[in-house]
């Protein structure tokens, strides 16, 4: 390698290293803002200011879904298996909303510590399998999140 080429190679690698370090520092400084949602543990640690709007993410706790008959208002518990937050939501839930599956909700904490959501998104996990496999897994483990719909007091069965 000629000296000129070596100099250019060092220059290119230098640019790359400089930009990487700058990018890493910037992303590290904005870590809190880059994060799309807070999990219940972060909420319990008080990382969210009272009254501040934020997104809450986690699993819908099995058996925690309730809905008043004749109303859309739903209550469920979002958990990360260390801490829990109760969520209330009064709009239509997405198709992939299931007990035991992931959700990301946007809203704020009210005074009683209930998270009042104005938007609930279903978070899909990275598992893909045919229905038969999901059913046989369910048989083997006794329970699975495969077919757990949120039926409790849905508007159709309610009023």
């Amino acid at each position: 390698m000629t000296p000129t080429r070596r100099r250019r190679l060092i220059l290119v690698l230098g640019i790359l290293a400089g930009v990487s370090i700058a990018g890493a520092l910037a992303l590290n400084a904005f870590r809190r803002d880059v994060t799309f949602f807070f999990d219940p543990t972060q909420v319990a640690q008080g990382q969210v200011k009272p009254g501040q709007a934020f997104r809450l993410g986690g699993m819908v706790k099995e058996g925690s879904f309730t809905r008043q008959p004749g109303s859309l208002e739903a209550h469920f518990v979002v958990t990360d298996f260390a801490h829990e937050v109760t969520v209330s939501y009064a709009q239509v839930l997405p198709d992939l909303f299931r007990e035991g599956a992931g959700v990301v909700a946007h809203g704020h904490l009210d005074r009683s510590g209930t998270f009042v959501a104005d938007e609930v998104l279903a978070k899909h996990d990275e598992k893909y399998m045919p229905p038969e496999v999901a059913r046989s897994l369910k048989r083997r483990h006794g329970e699975s999140r495969a077919d757990t719909n949120p039926p409790a007091g849905s508007p159709a069965s309610g009023s």
Binding site: V19, S20, L96, H124, D125, Y128, P130
Partner: protein
């Protein structure tokens, strides 16, 4: 010398002839694999246990997203080789990559939005994965815009190559965005160290589609590279010889 093949790859007539010979083979095998992958993905693969038939968009979405990263990496490597060794063919290859990569990125963003509406409940969120992929799209557009705005080819090559190299830091950010930060987008099912979290009957068509998309990219690159070399070498005599054949 051990590096003769490398030096030959720096010669426009040699690369032009090579691209001319290889392109039809890549395009042909890409088409065959594409048909096989689509048949496997849309007909043979079973529906997903949660998403039903809606998951099948993955057979276009995931290969497009992978290619959007792979094409950018190829482009940045070619640009760096062009910068360091002053090889014109390398700059031509980088320039030929950009519109292909931008198209794959657009395809990934659009198919992702169409899937996100029914599954997540939203077309778009400013989530780390989605935002960094959008930045990648703008990097491609910026690269093409910078090239187009500089009249002199040599200066356009060098300026745009620096942009391509700088932008490559976004590639690992996109890939790891779902593990570094809480993200709405799911973690990788296939491109991970552990075993894929996808049933084999669904995974095989996806891998076939990935190979098909990659070969399609190589075929497109070879065709665009020929055009790029023709444009750059239009004054030289070997072009007249080559076009007579």
């Amino acid at each position: 010398m051990t590096f003769t093949w490398f030096h030959r790859l720096g010669s426009p007539p040699y690369v032009y002839g090579l691209a001319q010979r290889l392109a039809p083979w890549c395009a042909g095998s890409a088409l065959l694999l594409l048909l096989a992958g689509l048949w496997g993905g849309l007909v043979l693969a079973p529906p997903d246990y949660q998403q039903g038939d809606g998951f099948r968009i993955i057979y276009v979405h995931a290969p497009s997203a992978w290619l959007s990263l792979m094409v950018y990496t190829t482009m940045a490597l070619a640009a760096a080789v062009g910068l360091i060794w002053r090889i014109k063919v390398a700059h031509a290859a980088a320039a030929a990559c950009a519109p292909i990569g931008a198209s794959f990125t657009a395809a990934a963003l659009v198919t992702g939005a169409l899937w996100g509406r029914p599954m997540w409940g939203t077309y778009w969120q400013w989530d780390p994965r989605l935002t960094s992929e959008l930045i990648l799209f703008f990097l491609y557009l910026g690269y093409m815009g910078l090239r187009a705005s500089i009249e002199d080819t040599q200066r356009a090559d060098r300026a745009s190559a620096v942009l391509a190299v700088v932008g490559v830091v976004n590639v690992p950010v996109i890939h790891y965005s779902v593990t570094w930060w809480n993200s709405l987008h799911q973690a990788p099912s296939v491109m991970r160290l552990a075993k894929p979290t996808m049933a084999t009957s669904m995974l095989v068509p996806l891998l076939i589609m990935l190979l098909a998309f990659t070969l399609f990219f190589v075929a497109m690159l070879l065709v665009r590279l020929q055009a790029e070399i023709l444009r750059r070498e239009r004054a030289s005599t070997w072009i007249r010889e080559a076009l007579k054949r």
